[in-house]
Symmetry: C3
Subunit: 262 residues, 3 copies
């Protein structure tokens, strides 16, 4: 793992990260992508998603405000990404809260080769059939150890599972990394989970063959930015603003020294 | 009325507030809901709104960027909320500006049992048949006394009318409360009306049988947060950021002492 | 050109600026419009766009997250605007990136009488048939001189072309103005191009017969606000917040003295 090197390459190559995401956080994930140093593009029309994704370094699918036309666009884009070798991140927002969300996330996992599944414990547990309590789009609790959940999801689903929470766990079913960067204020604004999925897409775009490392590096970078943003924040509003400043100010030279990974 | 006690209960129980709202303010109302202490969820697909609203403590319908599929979802969700005893807030954004908005707001009032109608004077006047000038989604002027307008709307429509403006008026057709908290900077950013509707949903979720009090308490809390945010704000941008900090920092112990209600 | 006078008239008359724009920036362009002193309204349903645009001082069409229903609404609104004498701004976001975006922008130009085309060099070059590199929605490079590109676009398309970049160029095909206001931080957040299109709509609403001047004045005002916002900003997040404060604080008395126009 070398988050600093990846960040440096990302800022040099400025990969396009195609995001089909929810209405609530589009501005936020676009700005987080730009602040980190990549280029976001939001496009969801069936008329253009296949053409757009072929220009991209990564595709991020997020079902936060899903509806049938958007799900069809996600499937079209996901299959085109697979054909073109563009890695795909899936953020199954609210899986477990409604049948439609759970089934849509499962359908995307069935029909698209997903490189990284980034969700909270409740969402990921739902998708591997473990009992979980999901309230709306918030994970209230999921039984068991989140590291074991990530490992099991990685193994069963054949991808890298990135389970975020107070401590994040990333696993490909064999190796599992625990990332303890971050700050409680990240849980006080909407869209930080979605942003971490966008960050995962950014790091994956410059590490196509190393999804485990890319997923962990993204969470290190985002977590360190969260720590920096929390210093001086007076509450969720000022923290939110400082988070973009902190992402843009991330220093590749010192990033790995600040990583809290085991 | 006991806004502090309601806020305390809200922060403890963290009710889910299901919002089918407009594209412009989704991030803002979600963040305001989180900052206050409740959990927002945005979901608008007919495939899931009925299931989602049954998990919720309140439903907020907002027609700010309406279109037929969204209106159908609002009606589905609203009827399911009624069946499940989940209270409904309607924000008739722009009623009076176009026929489609006026008729959609009326249709929702006809087909859904709305607990609180939260709008500006022009919107509410339109819905009770009083002449009003609405420019786009801004109320430019509505004849007569806003307290009397709230009372008349409450009585005619059989709900709690919450008419916001320089001074807010809340009425169930009999009792009318005037809330003079708030700050002129609230009118300089988009979505503060929508946020006050979301806040109303939050307070209603912990006061299902007291819609008049819930509506007034929400405006007290939001107005006090606006007062706190204005201190030190340099303009609409910094005020907007400080508003989330102020909502999160609201103190249940002192809230009622700061209420300016007659 | 008299940007200060236009700003003063805009703040007095508070024109309604109807925006059919993308999901990513709706909140941002609405808040920028309010901060400048005009009234934004977002409405995209075929059921209401014709009625809404007739109430407006200008219409801004932006294809940033286009799909067929939205394109139909843009065409409906654009034609109704033309009939009513309401000036139209087109922001062809991402033209050149996908066939669908390029063809949609061309279709709007064919079917609607556009007063001002506001885009980056890559987008505008695409629409006049000059080779350009567009990555997603970012212009990476367009051959040749941007002033000449603006002149050529203005002449060929029969409108005012407003080509923004490190230096902006506005031309009606004959006169060409170069505006050197602004700051590099404007390129670090999403939606500043879209905001400049919204600002163009605002200035056009009070200068219907002077589209060249309106387009230039809008970029002067937005650029000066960008300069003010950059002072003290620590990064893209704090710059974004300060930009709204700076737009609201623009002083009509001193604005033209700060214009860097040749």
């Amino acid at each position: 793992m070398n988050a600093g090197d990846s960040l440096q390459r990302l800022r040099t190559s400025k990969p396009l990260v195609h995001q089909i995401t929810n209405y609530v956080v589009m501005n936020e994930t676009a700005n987080a992508t730009l602040a980190l140093g990549a280029l976001p593009v939001m496009a969801h029309a069936p008329e253009e998603v296949e053409e757009m994704v072929r220009l991209a370094g990564a595709l991020v699918l997020n079902i936060g405000t899903l509806s049938p036309p958007w799900v069809e666009a996600m499937l079209l884009a996901g299959r085109a990404a697979n054909e073109a070798g563009v890695p795909v991140v899936l953020d199954p927002v609210g899986a477990g809260a409604t049948t439609y969300r759970t089934e849509t996330a499962q359908r995307i996992l069935d029909e698209v080769d997903v490189a990284v599944l980034r969700g909270n414990a409740g969402e990921v547990a739902t998708l591997v059939g473990v009992d979980a309590e999901v309230r709306g789009v918030e994970s209230i609790g999921a039984g068991g150890d989140p590291g074991e959940l990530a490992r099991e999801a990685g193994a069963r689903l054949g991808l890298v599972a990135s389970v975020t929470g107070p401590v994040d766990h990333v696993s490909d079913g064999e190796a599992t990394l625990a990332i303890a960067n971050g700050h409680p204020l990240l849980a006080t604004i909407t869209g930080t989970g979605c942003m971490s999925s966008a960050m995962t897409g950014c790091f994956l775009a410059v590490n196509r063959d190393r999804p485990l490392e890319a997923a962990a590096e993204a969470l290190v970078a985002f977590g360190v930015a969260g720590e920096d943003a929390a210093a001086g924040a007076k509450g969720p509003g000022s923290f939110h603003v400082a988070l973009y400043d902190a992402l843009a100010a991330l220093d590749p030279e010192t990033l790995d020294g600040r990583a809290n990974v085991t």
